[in-house]
């Protein structure tokens, strides 16, 4: 039996919010909304007046409990054909053609259980945020940790929301690491993610954990290999590459 086609739909941009100097979140109202699994993405399609078209995929940042709309958080990529349009041209009230949700492996919901270990680099935090927002919306007490690597404090996406989440939730812990400039007086991690850092952050979760790693290739490759060396079964390590492709 042929499965139904995932059709393009015309979303309406209802809000645009800058998150960091390089990232913005776009709220899209969908005429044919359906609940996504946290971690899934949507395809975005742009069409020029002469019919020229191009597409990109962006992770959903919002939780599926928010019916009727989704948030996509998009990082501006230097010279990016679509990200620069979304950042510089698209306005509230505009229409945007999308189809989704797509992707069935890099997904987590509370039914899958935990403990949950999320490791993100840069805008790789976006699909992980959908998982955390879903977990919070359902008032889940599944123990969870987020280890989030950014270049500087200004590059931390969802900073105040993450801090509020961690303050109000005893089962959630968030650790930041800065790979370039750390804030003054910072006593936390100030280096790339390594095995000592992973062990410290993961220790309270015990051995039987689910890990999701999303970020630039080098981070994902290094973290996933370290997790394997630490004895985690490969099928408990789900990875997704995210962000500009970069040489």
């Amino acid at each position: 039996m042929q499965p139904p086609q995932l059709e393009w739909q015309v979303a309406k941009v209802t809000a645009i919010r800058p998150e960091t100097p390089q990232t913005k979140s776009f709220t899209l109202a969908l005429p044919r909304w359906m609940a996504h699994q946290p971690g899934q993405h949507y395809d975005v399609r742009l069409t020029a007046p002469d019919g020229y078209r191009t597409e990109r995929s962006y992770s959903v940042a919002s939780e599926p409990e928010r019916a009727g709309e989704i948030d996509l958080t998009v990082e501006r990529i230097a010279d990016g054909e679509v990200s620069s349009y979304l950042h510089d041209v698209l306005m509230t009230g505009d229409q945007l053609e999308v189809r989704g949700p797509v992707g069935g492996y890099f997904v987590w919901d509370i039914a899958l259980g935990g403990p949950l270990m999320l490791i993100g680099g840069g805008s790789g935090v976006v699909p992980l945020m959908a998982m955390l927002r879903h977990r919070a919306a359902r008032r889940s007490t599944i123990p969870a940790r987020l280890l989030y690597s950014s270049r500087t404090q200004d590059d931390v996406i969802y900073k105040s929301e993450l801090e509020a989440m961690a303050r109000s939730d005893r089962e959630l812990g968030i650790a930041y690491t800065f790979t370039r400039q750390a804030p003054s007086g910072w006593i936390g991690y100030h280096r790339r993610i390594d095995s000592a850092m992973l062990e410290e952050v993961m220790r309270p979760l015990g051995a039987d954990i689910r890990t999701y790693v999303c970020g630039p290739t080098l981070l994902v490759e290094a973290v996933a290999s370290t997790l394997v060396r630490m004895g985690l079964p490969a099928e408990r390590i789900r990875t997704e590459r995210f962000g500009p492709t970069g040489n």
């Binding site: 995932l6 069409t47 020029a48 007046p49 349009y85 041209v89 229409q95 945007l96």
Partner: protein
């Protein structure tokens, strides 16, 4: 629907006509995988043809490297929207491998299988006559582990998830069956020119 204010960034016509619908050009080589990169030592590596064959065939790494190889220059398109032109591989053609076995006449589909448990399905008719190869060099270098080394399948006319990284063999089947991504919402066939990205496309 016309996207207000979008003009787009066209490439020269000779490049544009090589980009399947919805794809954009990259010059680097993005890495995508669902889990950790496996590292199988070469002395424990083998490549196997099994399933609907008269008797299965298996090569060690040394034996595989002694098989006649060819240079292939092909364009590749990933379902995540990037296309890379003129990639050059040193590889053993699937035609060469098939000379070592006698296929059962009922064999119609292939399941490629890999270290780490990855699988992907391809029609047999789209694996023969120079359409698919098992590559161990990319450009002039050994294929890097994150790109599928020591060896990966390359089926350039289908989306790149069909080009199984860390490939360890081909299983011949009489009926089509979904592999890893095909069980998770991606298309059973995956032709970029027909934009067969997801189930139902």
């Amino acid at each position: 629907m016309i996207s207000r204010g979008f003009l787009g960034r066209r490439r020269p016509a000779e490049v544009e006509k090589r980009l399947p619908p919805g794809q954009y050009l990259v010059t680097d080589f993005p890495v995508l995988s669902a889990g950790p990169t496996p590292h199988t030592p070469l002395d424990r590596w083998s490549f196997t043809l099994e399933g609907l064959v008269k008797s299965p065939m298996s090569w060690t790494w040394e034996e595989f490297r002694r098989l006649p190889s060819q240079t292939f220059t092909v364009d590749i398109s990933c379902v995540t929207k990037w296309t890379k032109l003129d990639t050059t591989w040193i590889a053993v053609s699937v035609d060469t491998l098939l000379k070592a076995v006698q296929l059962d006449p009922s064999a119609r589909y292939v399941m490629a299988f890999s270290d780490g448990g990855y699988t992907t399905n391809i029609p047999l008719a789209e694996m023969v006559n120079g359409q698919a190869f098992v590559a161990y060099q990319f450009g002039d270098k050994d294929l890097a582990p994150e790109h599928g080394g020591p060896a990966r399948l390359v089926v350039p006319h289908l989306y790149f998830w069909k080009s199984a990284k860390w490939v360890r063999g081909l299983r011949f089947m009489d009926r089509d069956q979904p592999g890893f991504w095909e069980s998770l919402g991606y298309n059973m066939h995956g032709d970029p020119w027909k934009e067969e990205r997801y189930s139902g496309d």
